[in-house]
């Protein structure tokens, strides 16, 4: 069964592979509290005390790490769908 064409499935395939690699790594970087990613955290501009800030940042870091891994997992699904579609397309084109 073919849902998407050969170009779309190839595009999905490439983006999925890229997404899995990058999001897995980004998840790891969030997990180890990488400072380079601090601007991308869902935290406030100001906190009253440093401890409050640290608590919020820690929470945000682990949450973003989870989110990245979830996104990577969805990309695994996308990868599977794209691969299936890609082979369906290539088989269809070789038959014709």
């Amino acid at each position: 069964m073919r849902i998407c064409g050969p170009k779309l499935s190839l595009c999905g395939l490439i983006i999925s592979v890229w997404g899995i690699i990058q999001l897995l790594l980004m998840g790891v970087f969030y997990y180890i509290h990488s400072v380079a990613l601090i601007e991308d955290l869902p935290i406030e501009e100001h906190y009253k005390t440093p401890s409050e800030f640290y608590a919020a940042a820690d929470r945000a870091y682990s949450q973003n790490a989870m989110n990245c891994w979830i996104a990577a997992l969805i990309y695994v699904v996308t990868l599977a769908v794209s691969t299936w579609q890609f082979y369906a397309n290539s088989r269809a084109s070789s038959v014709n």
């Binding site: 869902p42 949450q63 979830i70």
Partner: protein
């Protein structure tokens, strides 16, 4: 010198070929592809040449093959491409080939003609079938009305066609009412006619006829209007669409048609209606009046259609068989025919000698390949069974030989970049080998990003690894072919960009903290909590230098990150630029030495070097001094705020202005003792170079010319004529080499030429140095664009948080990835590529490259077959 740095040494050769052996020899040379033949009969037009007949026969064969190919493509039969390369067939095989093609073509044409006739027949029958079916409906529609009338009038008329006029009149009233004519006068007339109708029917003196036919659907409205106007509304038209499309036999297109039936009164109208039908290309069919006849006819038509279908199927099968058989050999035949044609085309360039026994050719040959060519010629002679070996003679010539740079698949793309600017003059230094390194490097300086570089490198790597299958596909897509042709450039550009991205510490605008930042924060907690922005002082807060590349902490310092990077990137741009330009001038030295232009070394190379080094290389030296001598932790004369601006120092140096002391503590505006004096010396000596470049060469040439004019008087002491001859002989080459191609120019022209050259160089050095700042500008733009894309797109996903955060990241990441490839890698990559190309063509090559040569175009089957034989025409 290796052939990589200069073009091959070429020589003009004369080739004597025996008439019988010529074909085989040229065929061997074509397979070899190392010989460029010259046209020895340029004033003879194509129709007067010796082998014009053979070329024409090949053209004819090619036409037949193209016809076959078209038919094969039309039927969608796959053509077998084995990739094998058959040798050019013997001339006598040409007759066989011709006969084969002739037979095939005739067969195919016959089949096609038959098929077309059958199809036309089929179309007519189908149309007739539809007419019969549709007209039945027209007649049925009115049948009830007809019975009514019958009852009213107690007529004894049987259900024959003679009753139709009555029905027709009734119908016409309806039709007219629908049309609602505005013209009252005409309406009156219609009414009269209407009254006439029944009367006529009663009197039986009015003969009403009808025609039925088929017309293209889009012509129908115009047709209807025309009928109405031409017949003044006295005809009645009914039409019905044929739903299924019909196939036009002449071109195989699907067309939509409509069935129509026209009722009219009298012969005059009949002729008029027929004329109109003819005019609208409507096909008329005989339609019997009686329903039983119609039914019978319909039956007949159906059986005939079935018969036709079987015949058509058989014809198609036969055609398919013929084409499948042809498709197996088609590529092979194409190659053979094109080779024969190329050989005869080449033989046409040759001269016949007086005895008609041998052909004389002139050709350019790389000296290194003389042996291989001799071998190929010997092979050709053996194959033709001729006893006399061909003779390959070297000739002396004053003509400039073609430029031939031997390339492989790796260097080819780089050579193409150079040749796009201009083919090198014969034996000139070839910039391509240096370009292999400098091109990807300068590109990478502008495209520095580890992530984007990795994408580009992976794309290049994929193309390089899949080289053979991808090359075999032979895509027609121009953009893809450009990418594929430059796959090694793309791979190298990607790898170099990964390196510079690592140095800039930029990966998708983020930094990698590999070795640990050297900065530390010495502020206490309250200061940090209270102030909006804090500055770290390198004197106290800086522990150690980051081992390689930029310190990752700069990425989270948005206030002065750009200021810091600008200072760094601008300086390295100028340093790379000056080194690149000096290298260009040095390459020029090799040119002067190779062409024995000793004068050019003294009058151009040395002042050019002095000018560039004393001004611009001195500036880069100042940069290094500034970097090493000044530091934030140093005591005052060499502390950070005492570091003088390089640009101001340089401007002051050229304008002889006094530099001002920055602060009292710094003591001096200079970096080292004696700098002011040194700068004055440097500027003055650089300025002296300008008149040196401007006048030295023309004056020397002038002196030499004067000497030459005196020379003929000299041979008094010798034996007169003999010495004079030798003197005259030795002078021209000396003159040519000494003046570097200015041999016979007028003195004023030499002055003007040299003036332009000097101005170009002096102004060029300034503007080209500034031009290298594009390295900084594009690199800054690239980094900023990447950062904006991250902050505007991907950050939205990452900042979502919560339960749907993962899905948001997933969706937005795809969007960000597409934009990254589309804008940052493709568009920015293209822009950086073009700027790099410009830096090479203008800033680098203007220092030494004249590019006035013409390319070596050997006679090779390979290139002829690739170009589809079109290069021969």
């Amino acid at each position: 010198m290796g052939s990589l740095f200069r073009s091959e040494e070429m020589t003009l050769c004369q080739l004597f070929l025996q008439s019988e052996a010529a074909y085989a020899c040229v065929s061997e040379l074509g397979e070899l592809g190392l010989v460029q033949f010259r046209d020895l009969n340029p004033d003879i037009n194509a129709f007067q040449r010796k082998f014009v007949n053979e070329v024409r026969r090949c053209d004819e064969m090619e036409r037949k093959l193209r016809y076959l190919e078209k038919e094969i493509k039309k039927d969608g039969i796959p053509m077998l491409d084995t990739g094998e390369n058959p040798e050019a067939p013997q001339p006598r095989e040409m007759i066989d080939l011709e006969a084969t093609f002739e037979k095939l073509e005739n067969e195919l044409r016959e089949v096609n003609q038959n098929a077309e006739a059958l199809k036309r027949n089929y179309l007519e029958l189908t149309e007739l079938k539809h007419i019969l079916r549709k007209t039945q409906v027209f007649f049925d529609e009115t049948a009830s009305e007809y019975h009514e009338i019958l009852a009213n009038r107690h007529s004894q008329l049987t259900t024959t066609f003679s009753s139709r006029p009555f029905k027709y009149e009734n119908l016409r009233v309806k039709f007219l009412n629908r049309c609602q004519m505005a013209d009252s006068h005409r309406e009156e007339e219609q009414l009269n006619l209407l009254e006439d109708g029944p009367r006529g029917q009663q009197q039986q003196n009015l003969k009403l006829g009808f025609v039925a036919g088929v017309i293209l659907r889009e012509r129908l409205p115009a047709f209807e209007r025309m009928l109405w106007r031409a017949c003044r509304g006295n005809v009645f038209l009914r039409q019905a669409m044929i739903e299924a499309p019909l196939e036009d036999p002449s071109n195989g297109d699907n067309v939509y048609k409509s069935v129509f039936i026209i009722f009219f009164q009298g012969d005059q109208l009949k002729t008029r209606v027929k004329k109109i039908c003819e005019g609208f290309r409507a096909t008329l069919y005989p339609c019997p009046e009686a329903p039983s006849d119609r039914r019978e006819m319909a039956m007949g038509v159906m059986t005939r259609i079935e018969d036709l279908n079987t015949v058509l199927g058989q014809t198609q099968d036969h055609r398919h068989r013929v084409l499948v058989a042809a498709a197996k050999n088609l590529k092979n035949w194409f190659i053979k025919v094109r080779k024969i044609k190329a050989i005869y085309h080449t033989l046409n360039l040759f001269n016949l000698d007086v005895t008609q026994k041998c052909l004389i050719a002139e050709c350019w040959v790389p000296i290194l390949d003389m042996e291989t060519i001799q071998m190929a010629l010997r092979r050709g002679t053996e194959r033709s069974g001729s006893s006399v070996p061909p003779i390959l003679n070297r000739m002396e010539t004053y003509e400039d030989p073609p430029t031939y740079n031997r390339t492989n698949k790796f260097t080819n793309a780089f050579q193409m970049l150079i040749n796009a600017y201009g083919v090198a003059s014969y034996r000139e230094m070839n910039p391509a080998p240096y370009t292999i390194i400098t091109f990807p490097f300068l590109f990478a300086v502008m495209f520095g990003d580890l992530g984007h570089g990795a994408i580009m490198a992976l794309f290049g790597l994929w193309m390089v690894l899949k080289e053979k299958p991808l090359a075999a596909k032979k895509s027609d897509n121009e953009i893809w072919n450009i990418f594929f042709g430059g796959r090694y450039i793309i791979l190298l550009m990607g790898l170099f960009s990964m390196y510079t991205g690592f140095i800039y510490n930029d990966i998708f605008s983020k930094s990698l903290n590999v070795f640990g930042s050297g900065w530390k924060i010495n502020y206490d907690a309250s200061t940090i909590m209270d102030s909006k922005a804090l500055q770290l002082d390198p004197a106290h807060d800086f522990g150690r230098t980051y081992p390689i590349g930029m310190d990752p902490v700069w990425q989270v310092a948005p206030m002065n990150k750009i200021i810091f990077q600008n200072a760094y990137k601008m300086k390295i741009s100028i340093i790379f630029g000056v080194i690149h330009m000096i290298f260009g001038v040095v390459v020029g030295l090799f040119n002067h030495r190779y062409f024995k232009n000793t004068m050019n070394i003294y009058t151009e190379f040395i002042p050019q070097m002095i000018f560039l080094i004393f001004l611009f290389f001195y500036m880069t030296t100042l940069m290094f001094i500034k970097w090493t001598k000044y530091s934030a932790s140093n005591p005052d004369p060499h502390s950070a705020h005492c570091a003088p601006s390089i640009l101001i120092t340089f401007i002051n140096m050229v304008l002889f202005k006094k530099s001002t002391v920055l602060t009292e503590a710094c003591e001096t505006p200079f970096m080292f003792a004696g700098q002011e004096f040194l700068q004055k010396v440097l500027v003055l000596s650089a300025f002296i170079c300008i008149p040196w470049m401007l006048f030295a060469k023309p004056f020397i040439i002038m002196q030499e010319r004067k000497k030459q004019q005196h020379q003929p008087i000299l041979p008094f002491n010798g034996e007169g004529q003999d010495v004079e001859n030798s003197g005259a002989q030795s002078v021209p080459p000396a003159d040519q080499s000494q003046t570097g191609g200015h041999g016979n120019e007028e003195m004023s022209e030499i002055f003007i030429h040299q003036g332009i050259h000097t101005i170009e160089y002096v102004l060029g050095s300034v503007s080209h140095t500034a031009s290298y700042l594009r390295l900084w500008a594009l690199s800054l733009a690239h980094a900023q664009l990447a950062e904006v894309l991250w902050n505007m797109v991907l950050q939205n996903g990452l900042k979502t948080g919560g339960a749907i955060g993962g899905v948001a990241v997933w969706a937005i990441f795809a969007f960000w990835a597409v934009l990254t490839v589309g804008i940052l890698v493709l568009m920015e990559g293209l822009s950086a590529f073009l700027h790099t190309l410009r830096l090479h063509w203008v800033e680098f090559q203007s220092k030494f490259y004249s590019g006035l040569g013409y390319a070596f175009q050997p006679f090779a089957f390979e290139s002829i077959l690739e170009g589809g034989g079109s290069s021969e025409d």
